[in-house]
Symmetry: C2
Subunit: 170 residues, 2 copies
């Protein structure tokens, strides 16, 4: 093949659209690995172009760098994801997207009811009352709508969540 199967960080950057600093950052996080020249400069494999692209895509789909690192760590020894890996991973990702869309749709529905009724007035507004309900019966602290970023709670009248979200823990 090419004599230059190793590429410098700048080339990897240019080919993926990622900043050089970001690639160094990814390396520090264990997302990519580099060989070094005698002089100490990084040299990447061509396959790392794909690896970085994978990172970008996964990121777009909502995974944190840590999750991506986990995903990559599950592959045999530094391998860049192949078709089978991808099928598994992407099926996973699809489920995430579905969940996000569903959550958003629930919210939209609630919101529509709310626009329609124009209420905003406590007794009736379901969006508002999602939280309020909590307090007016039984006075426990910490009720809330969604308990996860990006996720709106299913606001059903009966449902109690008991989810404590304001602080992620001590």
């Amino acid at each position: 093949m090419h004599r230059t199967d190793l590429i410098a960080i700048g080339e990897l950057a240019a080919r993926t659209g990622v900043a050089v600093s970001a690639i160094r950052f990814y390396e520090a996080k264990g997302l990519v690995e580099a060989l070094r020249t005698r002089g100490g400069q990084r040299r990447f494999l061509r396959a790392d172009i794909r690896r970085v692209s994978f990172i970008l895509i996964a990121q777009q789909l909502g995974l944190s760098l840590e999750e991506i690192a986990d995903e990559l760590a599950r592959l045999p020894a530094g391998r860049t994801p192949n078709a089978a890996d991808w099928a598994r991973i992407s099926t996973d990702l699809r489920a995430r997207i579905d969940a996000r869309i569903a959550a958003l749709e629930r919210t939209r529905k609630l919101l529509d009811q709310c626009i329609g009724c124009g209420c905003l007035s406590l007794k009736k507004c379901r969006l508002y009352n999602a939280q309020d309900k909590a307090a007016q019966r039984g006075a426990g602290p910490r009720y809330l709508l969604g308990d996860r970023p990006g996720e709106i709670a299913e606001v059903s009248d009966g449902g109690k969540t008991g989810a404590s979200r304001p602080s992620p823990g001590p």
Copy 2:
């Protein structure tokens, strides 16, 4: 009405599910206002339960605290949003939700093609190449995906792009 039309910060916290520290933070950002006792403790109006709830909802719908502050600032003197205000604001929010759902759906479609083809192989994978502005609401490499159209290097095995853009500039 009640003799206790004023509530302490702890109660506001309990009734909204927000941490006390977060409420102080919101006050610092101008999102809520508090009266003070002679001793210097904050006392909130009951209406602030609604105000905080509004903040929470708007936040869930993707507004930053600054945007929420702007929204609230457009209301007459510290008023908690009323029906007309709400109609305007919520119509706005709905558009945001729609946009997010649409973006997510585009991504999902791309992903489906990708699961199907199993490619992952640069030339064909639209997810890889098209790097849609999909779910970009959330952290991510800001200078890249979508930002400068045409700037993403075609991730191909062959040619060199020369488009070196390691840093977005000062």
